[in-house]
Symmetry: C2
Subunit: 145 residues, 2 copies
């Protein structure tokens, strides 16, 4: 088991909170990920074991070193484990802002507000304030998982 | 003041332990750095204040976002503050290996062994096992400082 503050520090640097809104009838997905070079997969396995949720996958890339990815995309795990964890062990700076928005959107999803036009509009407006920006669809992450 | 384990987690992801050996009469330098995008400079300032040593500098780049850099290159600070800190709050995986080698080289420098041909040969052989590899001269880091 890793120390909670260690994980918070690690996630403050290496973690990503992703929200994607895709499709004509928009589907909202939320995912927390940490990606590292595959030779550090052991760290991710210890993080997974400490959380007690999520998956660790190692996959090859077309170029560059293999990647190890820890991801949690299951809404109950996000709401019951990941979000309370980072409320207890705060992140810092920009990553904290991402987390605050991510948390709000996850709770909107719990309340099914992401199934309404108004909810989608709010989520899209939230997304603009997040620091992720490099993936439009969380399904693109860890493609081999 | 930041939690020690938080800093360890953050440094496990974002920190770098650099050793450079340059010149015909080789000079050895050691430096611990953390570099982030400049809009997260506040995290580095808190890390500096927690350690009570080192400098934080923000500098522009020819391309890309401005960078904030925390660095400690003063040997007494490395030996008396940084090394004991990461002995108390361990890093993980590859970064731990880097730290172990960095620590050995810093102690060789305290004993002036880096001023001998044998010492230089040992330091160069150590360096091959470190995970840094992207800088030959620590003076290239944070050039505006």
């Amino acid at each position: 088991m890793l120390d909670g503050n260690f994980i918070a520090g690690f996630a403050a640097g290496e973690g990503c909170f992703h929200i994607s809104v895709v499709g004509k009838r928009p589907q909202v997905r939320a995912m927390f990920t940490i990606q590292l070079r595959a030779d550090d997969v052991m760290v991710l396995e210890q993080i997974r074991d400490t959380f007690g949720c999520g998956n660790v996958t190692v996959y090859e890339r077309k170029s560059g070193s293999p990647i190890a990815c820890f991801r949690v995309g299951n809404l109950p795990d996000l709401v019951n484990i990941i979000i309370p964890f980072f409320e207890k062990y705060p992140l810092m700076a920009k990553k904290q802002t991402d987390f605050d928005i991510f948390k709000n959107i996850c709770w909107m999803m719990v309340r099914k507000e992401h199934l309404t036009d108004d909810g989608i509009a709010i989520i899209k407006s939230y997304k603009e304030y997040m620091n992720i920006g490099y993936v439009d669809d969380v399904r693109e992450l860890c493609v081999d998982d």
